[in-house]
Symmetry: D2
Subunit: 386 residues, 4 copies
């Protein structure tokens, strides 16, 4: 059946149409829009198999967003691809307030991508011995790991232990790529060398749930996965009152309740809705959207300053982004990155800063709406498509 | 500036083009592909504000997937919108094995959507008194909540307490819609009534980080958010050897290591990569993709049966899906749902079963690849776009 | 060997001495003090096997502690058995401040003890069917459960599901006993009846890590185990300055940092050191001290009030206490309970309130010391025994 | 009032009796047994303030326990101070089985004690700058830290970040002492130096909930607090059948269910009841019993070997123990340590190995009892004191 063809030379309109037709006929439904993409299927080579068309996700612009980062400086229109009504309007509102407050500071404080193989031994004692050997052979391991990649760089290896197992968490710098595949490949190369040179490994698996890729986890919140970015702002009480119909005191008090609820619910995010902005930007810019799982983790922290103003920050501990590779060169995705001045090499930290700054604006907007009772109203006005 | 228009009548090609042009010129980049969508902008009304175009996400089909559910029965071609190379091929491989094993059983075991307001009182004692009052007035509260919705139905209210606060977790049945907005609206209506009739509420906020929307949390893993779906399969050792180049024993052993690593890393998912399949299906079918945050939580459980075969199951405790409302009626998204026979009313559990069954296939494929060392190879062959 | 005798009639000084001598000679050390207990060994029957003597834990009194509870009202000298220098002094300091603030409010907001058996079925669908059957047969199950106990009362059964398993969390009211053994026995009786009357149970185990006894867990933080008690106080800024050398603002600010650190570390207690006071009271009063594992969980919540004063509360969600049974009738332990007016029936909530009130005082004292840099000094002055 | 005297020279029988009398008369109860201790009150100096007497906790011996550690080798009678009936018998049963299996292997795989101060800055960028400065000044910081202690040694400083804060986790080697006070003192000394030499610190607190002392936390499970010890054993199927009335297959299957329940409940311990043995040994040997909070964390891992035998291990990631200082020199406590050959310097790893080995035996016994339905029976027979 046409849908099953999987050879590399079939990223053509013809092959795609054949698949689409086969599926369409089998199910008896029209797939006209899925077939209405504007790009050359060859562009999707490496991004999808059994290519048949494209999903069109509506896109709106929020902003301009004023960012005072180290890499991102100035105003940006932020492309948000979403089907959730109110989302663009909410982020846009937050960006307006942030502009009036002088913009959002954004700082990348850490940067590493991981793969975490598990090694099993005869006993815990032998597993412990492995620890020292790894530390002594870091140079060789690094050489092996980096032999498989042009861009990746092994920064260090964290070690964790339980029972007769040892989990090595390889931390790579991945340049402008998100870097998961590089990390997997380089770690595999390193492990092959380790297995050849270390006797006594009884069990090996390239991943033992410790990376942890595409999953929310405490190890990623503590130890960073991808970019760790902090966005910060200070808002006067007056601005909060005028623009967000709340106050510094009310925001601060609500934060206490959100923290209390967060501890009780054991949430990986004591903020409001970082996932919304991150997801919409990820779709728009060709990120690996499944990484929303860990990228949406967030630590909100606020302070009421002596002059009555409100310091607010959001820390994204595991934001997985790239401006090179993956889906970033797909046509619409590339345009969105170019719009931000973030396509290609040397741009990834700039992009991370913009994402974090945008997230902060969404936190302000929803955080205030929840308090001032405007939340449901906004959804009523904007969010109903029937 | 054109990009800032936000009136309701501007879901037109003209308005969108004006926005696109304004942003494009400001940034000095071409946004041609973003402007190349095939649908009437009016279709996006309620899904996005400041509409300017669309992101095109490549789509491939995996399958057919053989599902033995209560609602989904038979073979389905599964639409996956993604830019992550290897993903479609991996799920497809798992679906092939699952077909040969007789298909995937899928069961929706629970179904509810939440909003969780926080109520503050003078003291813990007064907070406790509120508990009883709520229980006694459930009928009236239900009536108020349901007055704001045609489709939603208040099932029950869980209560949680800390300090002088009470968190009420309203559980709604939402029919075929994902239901978050309904839940927010209905809860707000109920709370307005509560606030009017109960004296002594000192503080109220419609959400106190206990729902928990678009966040990974233990409360959702324990108590369900959206659909709680289990997918199950039993594979013979022979099939595992022939098709996945591993064995029941090896899969089982790797599961132990993944559990150990999972406890150590404190992960919300002891499986492999549910986020991949869920995200690709969510984009393709118009789900609220930000819900990947909680929908990607998973509980993997395996058993080695007496006859040497391998029982494997994946439980998705907080899968947020809809077949009505939200982005489901957008043109490409609707086509994808129609293809699965899942568009519109009375279809949501069928769709949930298909998602869970697809996820299970991806777990088999990656789970086996990690063990049999085929993982990195597949990424080398399929996943490089440069 | 004498140490191995385990018959019931050997709770005598002679039997104990024989054991002590055997062990002492085997190891070549004197065990004179372990043999110097003041009670009749028969008193330890039911509390220990292979009885050989007693450990003497130093005891000091903190207080008086002024409690404004529902059951505990007035001043109490609190017996603390500990070997950690500074502990008594620190709690004592907190109690002094609390007295000056008018005392500590304490409220038991929930009360239940659990056992959580796991039932396995052929499939998730069959596991789901079990849910309904249990709900329909609650009366019979309750009857069976309660047939095994004079004092226990089955309040309800929570249900949790994953894969083809169903975890039932039986909630019992246990009167003045901590109740774990009663809960185990009653649940076993209920499950025996269930197993006899429900076909299709493939696997059963009386406990599946869901109770969770003697372990820190989120289910206990959310859903109570033992007593859920809240202690509250409001302190003027002046009092904080005079007695604790800090201020309401400083305490509040430190709380934000502790919350941030707590989310990052994933701690089951965002307070300071509840375990200290709980453990010392548990040893002194004959509680099952291993329950410190879950009893030490705590939720701290503070508010800065409009008049500048500081509201502070500590919620103990899983405090396991009894005033009857277990070690409560051992001679020194009983005296400590009698001193508090908490020995025997009808006293357990009074005791729970006193424990929570004492814990709050310790939080104030250490919380302030950390801020005002008095912490290390106190340990230098009081906590060195060499 | 006599109870309030707190001068250092009052560790005398007279002062203690005066306190006891005052409290006794105020409450109108006899405190005869609390006053019946066998040691010189001066021995309690540094362990308790406002000393008034002692709690007598019944003690029984389990064992002999056969340990094949690096430091502990041979058979040990294990002193267990407890009031929980069945506990000694259960551990004793496990020890018997373990002896027949050739003993328990035990290995200390990591060893460090912490204090984790929080530093606040003007912005996240300044907090990041602090990171590098700390790394560059490690030698000076180490010198300052160690100037305050004879025995402690600063191993390294982990850094964690969120918002504009930096949490430094100081890791100390503490020799044979548990070391918390040393760690606090040394960290304070280091921080004083840091504060003097680094400009721009806006906020400092010596502890920010990241150590985390006397609390269950993921950071301690991952990164060790105190001793990280693994105990291991391999049991033949035959031995399991004969002695524990179960089988390797049944134990392994139950482990899967316990893991599933553990993930669902979010427990810090997927084993059975490590807290029981740890607490009883802690009381008996003068450990800081409040550390049961974190010491009871455990990672259970089992494997079914090709020859049908059962490998079982328990990892205690945060076992806080000392054989010097604290309560270890109190008379009964010292005797218990001497009995194990663990009193004083150079003994702490030996003691840690014995604790872990004992814990493993308790896991075997209860783990098997839960499966073979002997659990409730044992409590009926042994655990009722009324």
């Amino acid at each position: 059946m046409a849908v099953n063809r999987e050879v590399n030379d079939d990223y053509t309109r013809e092959a795609a149409e054949a698949r689409l037709r086969a599926v369409s006929e089998a199910a008896g439904v029209s797939l006209e829009h899925i077939g209405s993409y504007s790009f050359d299927p060859g562009e999707a080579h490496g991004n999808v198999e059994r290519f048949a068309g494209a999903t069109q996700v509506p896109l709106g612009f929020a902003g301009p967003l004023l960012v005072n980062g180290e890499h991102a400086r100035g105003e940006f229109f932020v492309p948000l691809a979403t089907s959730e009504g109110t989302l663009v309007a909410s982020y846009n509102r937050g960006m307006k307030v942030a502009r009036e407050a002088g913009g959002v500071r954004a700082t990348v404080v850490d940067d590493a991508i991981q793969r975490a193989p598990a090694f099993g031994f005869e006993s815990a004692k032998e597993a412990r011995a492995f620890e020292g050997w790894i530390s002594e052979h870091l140079d060789e391991i690094e050489e092996q790991a980096e032999s498989s990649t042009r861009t990746g760089c092994l920064r260090d290896i964290e070690q964790y232990s339980a029972s007769r197992y040892r989990f090595l968490r390889f931390n790579f710098e991945s340049g402008d790529a998100a870097g998961q595949n590089m990390a997997g490949r380089a770690t595999a190369a390193a492990c092959e060398w380790i297995a050849k040179h270390y006797e006594g490994i009884r069990h090996f698996q390239l991943e033992g749930n410790f990376a942890t890729d595409k999953k929310a986890s405490q190890v990623n919140i503590m130890h960073t996965r991808g970019k760790r970015v902090v966005a910060e702002i200070t808002l006067s009480d007056e601005l909060l009152r005028e623009e967000l119909h709340t106050s510094a005191q009310a925001m601060y008090k609500a934060r206490q309740v959100s923290n209390l609820g967060g501890f009780l619910a054991d949430v990986n995010n004591n903020g409001s809705h970082s996932a919304n902005g991150i997801t919409a930007m990820f779709i728009a810019t060709g990120q690996d959207v499944a990484n929303v799982s860990e990228s949406s983790a967030a630590l909100a922290h606020a302070e009421l300053l002596d002059d009555g103003s409100y310091y607010y920050s959001i820390t994204l501990p595991s934001l997985i982004v790239g401006t090179y590779g993956g889906g970033t060169s797909l046509p619409t995705q590339r345009e969105a990155l170019e719009l931000l001045g973030c396509y290609g090499e040397g741009k990834v930290r700039k992009f991370a800063e913009i994402v974090a700054a945008a997230v902060l604006c969404g936190e302000l907007s929803l955080g205030a709406a929840v308090i001032s009772d405007e939340w449901v109203d906004a959804h009523e006005r904007l969010g109903r498509n029937r």
